[in-house]
Amino acid sequence: MTPALLEVRGLRKHFPLRGGVLQRTQAWVRAVDGVSFDVAPGETLGIVGESGCGKSTLARLLLRLIEPDAGAVRFNGEDVLAASPARMKRLRRDMQLVFQDPYASLNPRLTIEDTVAFSLLVHGTPRAEAAERARGLLGRVGLDPRLHGRRYAHELSGGQRQRVNIARALVLDPRLLVLDEPVSALDKSVQAQVLNLLQDLKAERALTYVFISHDLNVIEYVGDRVLVMYLGEVVETGTAEALAQSPKHPYTQALFASAPSMDPEHRMERLPISGDPPNPINPPSGCRFRTRCSFAMARCAEAPPPRVAVSPTQAVACYLYDAEPARVA
């Protein structure tokens, strides 16, 4: 097996919740709690989960936009978290982020061309060359550089803005692209166009994607492997086919059951989970899903289940598969 491009081990980020007169820490929001995974060069890892499960925090942790409390991130074998500021600046060329909100992610005072060229200028590219490359990339993502280049973000549609967002991330020629819900703010028809653009760009530029979304259909479409998150933890991983065909974790099953399918053959009769996820401030003991799980047992409350492989392509953190893997199909 080829060495992983991105290795994540035991990544943890708890946000303090301050309150009271003295602003003392009252509680911790466990946004990301012990997440580990590998991303092989050239693959697309889909990360799926409900809103509030820590997906966006994870994206920012991977790029070291926020510092984790514990854990390790290795890019191409190099410890990202130990990198010096100068080394970090170099590393940032190789790992870029595409943001979720096409409105908040573009500076309203910069033209589209300047927005894309900015990253190059930061890394010392001469102005004329930066502008030239920005225009070239704008053309590649489907915008007319002569028509849109001198425009401001508010003059563009959501889909066009997201193309700018993608161009900005790609202008430094990164090897890894973390996409944080890149299409969830877009209309369905525009979503498809942007997804296809992303697939084309990936093939063209030999990119590796970490694709975060709450939309299973999107994840199934783009993802080679999928990682399911629940309340800051990974509950199941597997190839996209394995997960779609036989989701093992009750939460994954519920996710697939609640995802609207275009195919009547694929519509499941099982009830999706009810209620909202518990508060990540005080997550349930043991397995965090047990409060909404219809298979919850006494031991689920005792200790969090370890992630065990149920097949060469699938691993799940659930006691149902600990002793007798065949009991729930």
Partner: protein, 295 residues
Amino acid sequence: MAISTAVLQAEMAAATPMSYWRTVGWRLARDPTTLVAGGVLALIVLSAVLAPWLAPYDPAAGSIRLRLAPVGSPGHLLGTDEQGRDMLSRLLWGGRMTLIAGLTPVLVAFVLGSALGVLAGYIGGLVNTLIMRTMDIFYAFPAVLLAIAISGALGPGLANTVIALSIVFVPRVVRVAESATVQVQGLEYIAAARASGAGVGAIVRHHLLANVLGPILVFSSTQVSLSIILAAGLSFLGLGVTPPAAEWGLMLNTLRQSIYVNALVPALPGLAIFATSMAFNLLSDGMRDAMDIRG
């Protein structure tokens, strides 16, 4: 052929849009209220600047025989004050003082307040607490009371008035600057700039200031009218410009006993203060609208 030329021209215009500040100027020029306010203001400022050449008399030279001449008297278009000094000359000269005492503190507050506010908002944590809580101390006093207290402590004079009023306005601007900075800093384009490897300087210059200074400027401009009124108020109380120099607030004070003799003449400096602050208010309203281009 004619149609295709028109389409081509429209496309050319669309392909070369104006820069942000040119668009703002273009929008300002299309707002009649703002234009009138701007015109009035330009007139006031110009007359104050050109006072030495425009004023028909020495503003300090009075005549005992010609005290409190009514508006429209021969030789004294706007009458004379209680010491027989020409009102038109004094209003023109007084405008200089009032404008300097009113505008300078806001300018100081804009520069100093933006710097402190952006610093507090960008760094956050202890620096933020230190700056913002210090500002809160000043903010706790009513503006007029604070201005009087500081002026009283420093003593009368134009320079002290400017210092006192600056202390009044800096905390207000800091508040606006800090909240704007915190808000912008949470937006994803700042995170994107950091993800691209940009340093603090580049982020602040190209991404933060560009989006924060506009709102601060608009807020500061709304404070000009208040500053002018406060400056005039301090002079009225004898804490600002010292006689015999002409200043609108001071003129109001010395003329106030004469209101029963000749009501219109004492009202003139008041009208001048009113017109100037009103013009500034309308102008800043127009500016706020013109700068709100997004959406």
